[in-house]
């Protein structure tokens, strides 16, 4: 369980996060939505300990986040950030193997190599394993980074501990086939005792996949709860300043948003 109490964060005079409190439960797929500059990525940085909040505290399973040694944190939580550019070229395998660094000393064990391959397989990138990372397209790079993060949290048999997965726009460069495949996979992961916090922009994907939605607006938590309760006409109009219409999916009966 992840608990944050009264977080706020400023850069200079600018308040980026204003008094946000929330609790994330393992087993629930949480999606974060909100307009550009609403503080979604900043909130992710605070919750992962990347930035230090001006006020407020963060607990991972009742333990203060900043009191957990980084090496232990690296085996519990994985973070996929936006916009990673590499000044030096590496092979796809080398990038994915970084996800296993918290688990081996200098050279990867057989087990780590198998896990890396398996995670590449999950995102459909195994055939690219020997390719230079720089030669990949944007979407392919995103899938490789995703495989790296999956490798970092890969559970050994018998490991039932809570894991924490944070993804900042993991599917922004993917085609719709992989958007759905990846989100389906992440939902399955969440079900296995994982706290999952994913920033997305597509409201329909949130309606389809999320168990729990956080709607951010101007640094504040606008609303949080199950998707059908949070993503209503009123809230979307208030936050995104666009009037939505909802229709019903002809097969599944799910709510679908049309603009």
């Amino acid at each position: 369980m992840l608990k944050a109490e009264h977080l706020s964060f400023q850069i200079g005079r600018q308040t980026l996060i204003d008094d946000v409190s929330l609790t994330l439960l393992p087993g629930k797929f949480t999606m974060v939505l909100g307009p550009n500059g609403a503080g979604k990525s900043t909130l992710l940085k605070l919750l992962t300990g990347t930035e230090i909040p001006k006020t407020g505290q963060i607990f991972y399973d009742e333990t203060l986040l900043f009191s957990i040694p980084l090496a232990i944190q690296a085996r519990q939580k994985a973070v996929l950030s936006q916009l990673l550019s590499l000044p030096f070229d590496l092979s796809v395998t080398e990038v994915v193997m970084m996800g296993r660094y918290p688990y081996f000393d200098l050279n990867p064990r057989e087990q780590d190599k198998m896990i890396a391959d398996h995670c590449l397989e999950l995102v459909g990138m195994l055939p690219f394993k020997a390719r230079a990372f720089a030669s990949l397209s944007g979407g392919e790079k995103q899938k490789v980074h995703l495989a790296r993060v999956l490798a970092q949290l890969y559970r050994q048999p018998g490991d039932e501990s809570v894991k924490y997965l944070f993804l900042d726009e993991p599917i922004s460069a993917l085609d719709i086939h992989y958007q759905h495949q990846i989100l389906g996979m992440v939902r399955d992961l969440a079900a296995k005792n994982m706290v999952v916090f994913v920033i997305v922009h597509d409201i329909n994907l949130a309606l389809q996949y999320a168990d729990n939605v956080i709607l951010m607006d101007r640094g504040r938590l606008y609303d949080m709860g199950i998707p059908d309760k949070v993503l209503t006409e009123q809230s979307i109009e208030a936050v995104f300043r666009i009037r939505p219409y909802f229709a019903t999916h002809p097969e599944t009966g799910r709510r679908v948003m049309i603009c």
Partner: protein, 355 residues
């Protein structure tokens, strides 16, 4: 270039062979040519395994001058190259070399200070330090210079690479100015040794220097291996280093200290040698990969070989006089570097910096 790529192990094997060949070649060639038979006899005599009569002058030359010099050369080459790997990874920039952050010029200033004023200051500790005076002062100056650059760059809280590079230029200018001033006030023979030494020279190499440089460099290279995983992650970004379990601020300080150690010890003994720390890691990067685990080991081996070969050329070219080795490394290193740059800018195969 469509041959099957060599594995890291095969690379290490090839490079070790290259290093051994360079050392053997360097032992034979010089102002006085020695045959393999001579070298063999001298080595066996030295170990007390035989007592063949050899020309005592050759024997003295080989044991007292050439052997320590060649070994020192290989060691310094390895140290500078590994330091280049560390700095390029830390700055996330392939054009960085150890001299950039003020380490080399700081060490040079410290050493020049000892050269010029050393005999005039008779504090208690100068005697006690004895042989270690030069490397110690060089290390202190190198570290102060590096730390200054680092501090200026991190005024805003986080280390800013652009500021760091500019601060490096300023501190380098300051240190070079200081060295220039010292050589100006120095009496003639000292001044000449500073000038010569600013371009690097192995002409003063002996067993004592090797005894100081070799252990320090070996330990430094082994320690560097400990940081290679974290430095690999740094390719992705500073936040990722933290996400994968390392303290980024501590990592930066540790790597800077290690870099100072590797560069200052070598520089104190043989002077400023440019381009090795830049070109060697770069070559390995282009030939195989940017994985720092591979780069540290392979650059140490290749750097040792290349500097040994460069020194052999420096000794042979105008024998019995000799060239400053820095001139050779610059003349050979710069064109190779430019060729590599152009080739890669054209091929667009590599990403990041080259694309």
């Amino acid at each position: 270039m469509k041959t099957p790529p060599l594995s890291p192990g095969q690379w290490y094997g090839t490079l070790t062979a290259l290093l051994l060949l360079s050392i053997i070649a360097a032992l034979r060639i010089g102002a006085v040519e020695l045959t393999f038979a001579d070298i063999n006899h001298i080595l066996l005599n030295g170990l007390g395994l035989s007592d063949t009569t050899v020309d005592p002058i050759s024997q003295g030359l080989f044991l007292q001058i050439r052997l320590p010099r060649v070994l020192l050369c290989a060691t310094v080459g390895a140290g500078l190259s590994v330091s280049g790997v560390l700095m390029q990874a830390l700055f996330r920039n392939p054009i960085v070399e150890p001299g950039l952050v003020g380490t080399s010029s700081g060490a040079a200033l410290g050493a020049a200070l000892v050269f010029v004023l050393g005999k005039n200051i008779n504090w208690a500790f100068t005697d006690a330090l004895g042989l270690f005076l030069l490397p110690c002062v060089a290390f202190i100056f190198a570290f102060v210079a590096t730390l200054l650059v680092y501090r200026i760059a991190s005024v805003s809280g986080k280390v800013n690479v652009a500021t760091m590079i500019l601060a490096g230029i300023a501190i380098n200018a300051l240190a070079t100015g200081g060295t220039g001033f010292l050589s100006y006030i120095a009496r003639d023979p000292q001044a000449r040794s500073i000038t010569f030494w600013n371009l690097g020279t192995f002409s003063g190499a002996d067993w004592t220097q090797l005894a100081i440089v070799f252990p320090v460099t070996s330990v430094g290279i082994l320690l560097s291996l400990r940081f290679t995983k974290a430095l690999n992650i740094l390719i992705l970004g500073e936040d990722e280093v933290r996400h994968l379990g390392y303290n980024i601020d501590r990592l930066k300080i540790q790597v800077l200290l290690l870099n100072t150690l590797l560069v200052a010890i070598g520089t104190a003994m043989v002077g400023v040698i440019s381009f090795v720390g830049l070109v060697v890691p770069h070559l390995m990067r282009l030939l195989k990969t940017s994985d720092n685990r591979f780069l540290v080991i392979s650059s140490a081996l290749l750097g040792g070989s290349l500097l040994t070969l460069a020194d052999t050329i420096a000794r042979r070219l105008v024998a019995p006089a000799e060239f400053p080795i820095g001139v050779i490394t610059a003349f050979v290193g710069a064109p190779v570097f430019i060729w590599l740059l152009v080739r890669n800018a054209r091929s667009f195969q590599k990403g990041g910096f080259y694309a």
